[in-house]
């Protein structure tokens, strides 16, 4: 049999030429695809053979074969063979030639068949006018990343063609005289309205163009998932990715479809991110879905398979109610959308109070569930919420179902937290009571009343009762001098709280305790105390939260009986505010005794306000300053003392101030050392200037002294002139006979007339040169001038400035008689410059007579390194002054150099003090 068939096939191959006959050649321009259909004409209607075909495609000319493809197919007489080919080059660009041949490819044939003859060439080409310009492909739709080949065909009269891709000139590849191509590789999405490619010929003017639409790559749907909420509908969702729609209707948005493999059903989805699927009623539990996204260019699919009972997303619980709500308990019930009693849900219950979750419970539920909440606060609003999930195959929680409820009120559970202050006024005591707004846990209800009962411990018949309603949190009582017991309770609709008891003893409000300073920090004040008695049940520390002058806003802190210290901290504490703390111990009889006072700042600040100073009793040499109204307690720091600056009205240098530092005193009287004409003063903690007027007698004294000086000067001048005239015109002629020497010579050696000085033994000296005496008078005048000169400086320091390393109180005097250069430097004046006056500092540093040079020089002198010239000059001047003042003392008590050294040392000491004072200031 097999042999017979093989023989028949061999005969067929020989007898019949199996040459294909091309029936149809068609082209899809947008896809650039060629479709071929052919048949084998010699086959009978029912005869079927397996054949292999060879297709040959040429471009431009038949000999330019660009493709040889093989295609196997079963062939029957009544069925055409189909084949297609996608061309890279637009098919319209060049003429294409196609032909086909075939051969037997049947296993039943004894030997492979030889190729048949080729079918005749089929030709496809574009005819073009001489002035025509065409660009291809028309309306190409490609995916991002593809390659596009453009071609342009020009008529015989068009030779100079320029082409542009999206406005940019390109250079093509010439295929023949009238056909050129340009390949655009790896195209990118630019805009959904397409990218234009056009070519133009200028003379004659003609152009043609095409629009290429580049589609974004279709993405695979992500997070594809299906679930049911009611076992009737499966809801499938996914993330669609980018939209690949294009304008000009070139491509709509991608479409999505569901295919279920078990049922074999298909559904097109209306939305691009979700689709509903009806669950069949024949108890299908397993589902196998394929979600397909599709556009004109591509399909993308994802697949999931699941058991529908494992994809249950329950609906939110319903019928949530509260039963048996009391002050501290509540019972919540709810129902679930269940498939039956056999199905179990796991429900999660949360209880929230004031935005915070305080309880969480998990409950297994078939159809309805319940949860009992305990440990609740009375009169409190709560929010409870419940959600459920499938207990056997957890998939997703349902949405929360929240409900609010309010617990009932209860009697207050704790005594009020209260405190008091006691002040005595006009024989009675004023007791101010304060209590803190009770917390919810204390009051357990709304609108509490505060009940205050005051009992006189010495007169049981005297009882006061007061009732106050919240939000009042303070009151005051007027009590006598007896001992009292105060009870404070608060009441709501459910009952009364335990009582807070406070005792007021006879001496309450009259305790005198010296306040001690306490150093505060950012962390607060550490208050410590020593227990006073053993019978103590606790301590209370109170203070005013606000600064002085404002409403006190009393604060207090309760401490146990063993406490000996506590840290008082508060965000309300401010820098530069003085806080007063009082420590009370509470006896067993609930009586508070003040045992300690503390005062302090968390940080002291410099005083901001200057004292208001009153000048009293001003005379030409004295004055009194008072600033008793200066409130030190309201200052931003402890006032340690005051600086008073004084300077003479006659001072030439503005920086020559005298500083007096006072500790704690609130008045200032000019001391004896300063009793002279005063120009004014300045406080270091502020600026105020007063001027005292010079008195009339003092002014007269100055005039008289000046006139006296002038008279003395004229008298001296006249005397000197008369002596000069006398010497020049009427010189004295010595009388040798009146000389004692003559008598001596006469008695011993009468013939000798020449006296040898060496032979003289002097026993007395007589100064005959009067002019020298006149000069010494000038020295006295110089001393007087020094006294009358403007008073330069006198330093008085009553309190050492902090940080100063200088010596103690000292006084500086300058005598211009023996240190004339010092009078010009004004060096002392530099020292008393008020420290807060920058111009003075500037002048000090820039002065040609630099203070440091002067001080250095004087300091060197004090060490005995004075140049000889200066030393002799000074000392001679000093000696001359003394000698001229008293001739007798010259003969009996010669001048001692040590005396002059004391003067010099006096000046040097003062300058040293000046140096140290200056250092102390800086």
């Amino acid at each position: 049999m097999l042999f017979l068939i093989s023989s028949c096939l061999a005969v067929l191959a020989e007898r019949f030429q199996l040459t294909p006959q091309l029936l149809h050649v068609s082209v899809n321009s947008s896809l650039q695809r060629v479709y071929l259909q052919w048949t084998i004409p010699n086959l009978t209607y029912h005869q079927e053979l397996k054949m292999v075909f060879q297709i040959e495609i040429s471009q431009i000319k038949k000999s330019n074969v660009i493709l040889v493809a093989n295609h196997s197919s079963a062939v029957r007489g009544d069925r055409a063979v189909h084949w297609s080919w996608d061309s890279e080059l637009p098919l319209e660009c060049v003429t294409h030639f196609v032909r086909v041949r075939g051969a037997l490819d049947d296993a039943r044939a004894p030997q492979p068949g030889s190729w048949s003859k080729w079918s005749p060439w089929e030709e496809a080409h574009v005819s073009l006018g001489p002035n025509e310009l065409l660009v291809y492909p028309k309306e190409k739709l490609v995916e991002e990343g593809s390659n596009v080949t453009f071609c342009w065909i020009s008529g015989v009269n068009l030779n100079n063609i320029s082409c542009y891709l999206s406005g940019i000139a390109i250079h093509g590849e010439r295929l023949d005289a009238h056909v050129s191509t340009f390949k655009w590789n790896n195209v990118l999405f630019h805009r959904d309205t397409g990218t234009n490619f056009f070519c133009r010929h200028t003379n004659p003017t003609t152009y043609d163009g095409v629009t290429v639409f580049v589609s974004k790559v279709l993405e695979e749907p992500k997070d594809f998932s299906c679930e049911t909420r009611d076992f009737r509908t499966l809801s499938c969702t996914w993330k669609p990715g980018v939209d690949t729609a294009l304008a000009w209707s070139k491509q709509p948005s991608q479409r999505y479809a569901l295919f279920e493999w078990v049922s074999g059903e298909n559904k097109h989805c209306e939305l691009k991110n979700s689709c509903n699927w009806q669950i069949t009623q024949d108890s299908q539990e397993l589902y196998n879905f394929t979600l397909t996204a599709e556009n004109y260019l591509r399909k993308r699919s994802v697949n999931i398979a699941f058991n529908v009972s494992h994809r249950v997303h329950p609906k939110a619980p319903h019928d949530v109610n509260f039963d048996d709500v009391s002050a501290t308990r509540a019972r919540m019930t709810w129902r679930v959308h269940s498939r039956g009693k056999s199905h179990t849900f796991l429900c999660q219950v949360e209880l929230h109070c004031e935005g915070q979750m305080i309880q969480e419970h998990n409950v297994s539920v078939h159809e309805s569930g319940e949860q009992l909440f305990g440990d609740l606060q009375p009169d409190t609003r709560y929010k409870a919420q419940v959600r459920c999930a499938d207990a056997n195959h957890f998939w997703k929680w349902s949405e929360w179902t929240p409900r609010n409820f309010h617990t009932l009120e209860a009697a207050p559970s704790e005594a009020p937290d209260a405190w008091r202050t006691v002040t005595s006024e006009n024989g009675r005591r004023k007791v101010a009571l304060f209590w803190k707004s009770p917390s919810k846990s204390r009051v357990n209800g709304k609108f509490p009343f505060y009940n205050i009962v005051v009992k006189n411990m010495e007169n049981s018949s005297e009882v006061q009762q007061h009732a106050l309603q919240a939000p009042v949190n303070s009151t005051w009582l007027s009590l006598g001098q007896s001992s009292y017991l105060i009870q404070i309770t608060f009441t709501n609709s459910q009952g009364t709280s335990p009582a807070l008891v406070m005792g007021i003893s006879r001496d309450s409000g009259n305790e005198e305790v010296e306040a001690e300073r306490v150093d505060g920090t950012k962390e607060g004040f550490m208050i410590s105390w020593k227990p006073q008695t053993r019978d103590v049940v606790g301590y209370v520390v109170d203070w005013c939260a606000n600064s002085q002058g404002q409403h006190c806003n009393l604060q207090w802190k309760n401490l146990g009986p063993n406490a000996t210290s506590t840290n008082i901290s508060s965000d309300a504490f401010k820098k530069g505010v003085r806080y007063n703390f009082r420590v009370y111990e509470i006896s067993a009889h609930r009586i508070a005794h003040l045992i300690q006072k503390n005062v302090g700042y968390i940080q002291e600040l410099a005083p901001l306000k200057s004292p208001d100073v009153i000048l009293s009793n001003p005379t030409s040499h004295s004055f009194v300053l008072n600033w008793t109204t200066y409130a030190t307690e309201s200052q931003p720091g402890f006032i340690e003392g005051y600086h008073v600056y004084v300077k003479s009205k006659d001072a030439q240098c503005p920086q020559e101030w005298e500083e007096v530092v006072l500790k704690g005193d609130t008045h200032f009287s000019a001391p004896d050392t300063l009793r002279r004409e005063v120009l004014g003063y300045i406080f270091s903690i502020g600026g105020s200037t007063f001027t005292t007027k010079p008195s009339l007698p003092y002014m007269l004294l100055q005039i008289i002294l000046s006139m006296t000086m002038c008279v003395l000067f004229l008298l001296g001048l006249c005397y000197w002139k008369s002596q000069w005239v006398k010497e020049k015109c009427y010189p004295d002629i010595p009388d040798p006979y009146k000389s004692s020497i003559r008598s001596l010579i006469k008695s011993k050696k009468p013939p000798l007339t020449i006296m040898s000085v060496k032979d003289c033994i002097p026993d007395a000296l007589e100064i005959i040169n009067k002019s020298e005496g006149t000069k010494t008078q000038g020295g006295g005048t110089g001393k007087l001038h020094a006294e009358n000169a403007p008073t330069k400086l006198a330093y008085l320091r009553l309190l050492p400035t902090e940080g100063s390393s200088g010596p103690g109180p000292c006084i500086c005097f300058e005598n211009f008689t023996y240190n004339q250069p010092a009078s010009d430097c004004g060096s002392c004046g530099h020292i008393s410059v008020p420290p807060r006056d920058p111009p003075y500092h500037l002048e000090l540093l820039t002065s040609p007579n630099n203070l440091l040079n002067v001080l250095e020089k004087d300091y060197t002198n004090s060490l005995g390194e004075i140049p000889a010239e200066q030393s002799s000059l000074n000392y001679v001047s000093q000696l001359a002054s003394l000698v001229c003042g008293d001739k007798d003392s010259l003969a009996t008590d010669p001048p001692m150099p040590q005396h002059c050294s004391e003067y010099k040392m006096q000046m040097n000491i003062s300058l040293s003090s000046m140096i140290l004072l200056g250092q102390g200031k800086h």
């Binding site: 028309k138 309306e139 542009y164 999206s166 406005g167 630019h190 805009r191 959904d192 309205t193 397409g194 990218t195 234009n196 056009f198 133009r200 152009y207 043609d208 163009g209 095409v210 629009t211 639409f213 729609a245 294009l246 304008a247 000009w248 209707s249 070139k250």
Partner: protein, 223 residues
């Protein structure tokens, strides 16, 4: 007679009662719409036509719009009729163009332009009534006429883009021309004695409606 009166009243319903106001509105609308930056330029950028070659090719006055000479040769009623019809066709063309966009937000001004075209057509309709030569439609139009300038389906996208570009350029040009003519009407209100805006001529058999002497309110004259 009653039906005719009712028809005339209905035709005037919604019209401004002032000729000057109508003319002013039309001038303002034309001034606004002749700006190519509103529609043409966004379209050129959107469709990737922003090259000198394509711009020059775009600026060809389409034959679908009446030429300036043809418009100026018309009487006032004829002018209004021509503009009214052209705007109707244009409205349809813009509607077709709008459909080729992926979304209206790509060319948001197009919707506004369509509304303005409707408004201009309504004003022209009312103005024609003022001139006594009502247009063929009895009511101010809510849309365009059914004659379309839609590109023929045979055109590929590139040439459709070019044609739409020319359409928009022609629209701005045409509206500018219309605006100039309307301004001339204001400058020379007696350009056409046959159709003075101060004298209303109703179609035969229709009762005349005249503006008041203050020139603001049309007043029916009893016959």
């Amino acid at each position: 007679m009653v039906l005719l009166l009712a028809s005339a009243a209905a035709a005037m319903r919604g019209c401004s009662r002032s000729y000057a106001q109508l003319l002013s509105q039309l001038q303002n609308q034309a001034n606004m719409e002749e700006n190519p930056n509103l529609l043409l330029e966004p379209y050129i950028h959107l469709q990737d036509l922003d090259t000198d070659i394509l711009r020059n090719s775009c600026m060809v006055y389409p034959s679908v719009f009446p030429s300036e000479d043809a418009l100026r040769a018309l009487s006032k009623p004829g002018f209004l009729r021509a503009v009214h019809a052209t705007l109707g066709r244009l409205w349809n063309s813009l509607t077709a163009l709008q459909k080729q966009l992926l979304q209206d937000q790509d060319l948001p001004r197009l919707t506004i332009t369509k509304h303005n075209i409707q408004g201009m057509r309504n004003n022209i309709h009312c103005l024609a009534w003022w001139l006594g030569s009502p247009l063929e439609t009895s009511e101010p139009t809510q849309g365009g006429s059914r004659v379309s300038l839609t590109p023929t389906p045979a055109l590929d996208v590139f040439w459709s883009k070019m044609k739409s570009c020319r359409l928009l350029w022609g629209y701005h040009h045409f509206i500018g021309l219309v605006g100039r003519v309307f301004r001339e009407w204001e400058d020379n209100p007696n350009r056409s004695r046959r159709h003075s805006p101060l004298r209303l001529v109703l179609p035969k058999g229709t009762r005349k409606i005249r503006p008041s002497r203050r020139g603001q309110r049309p007043v029916r004259r009893a016959q």
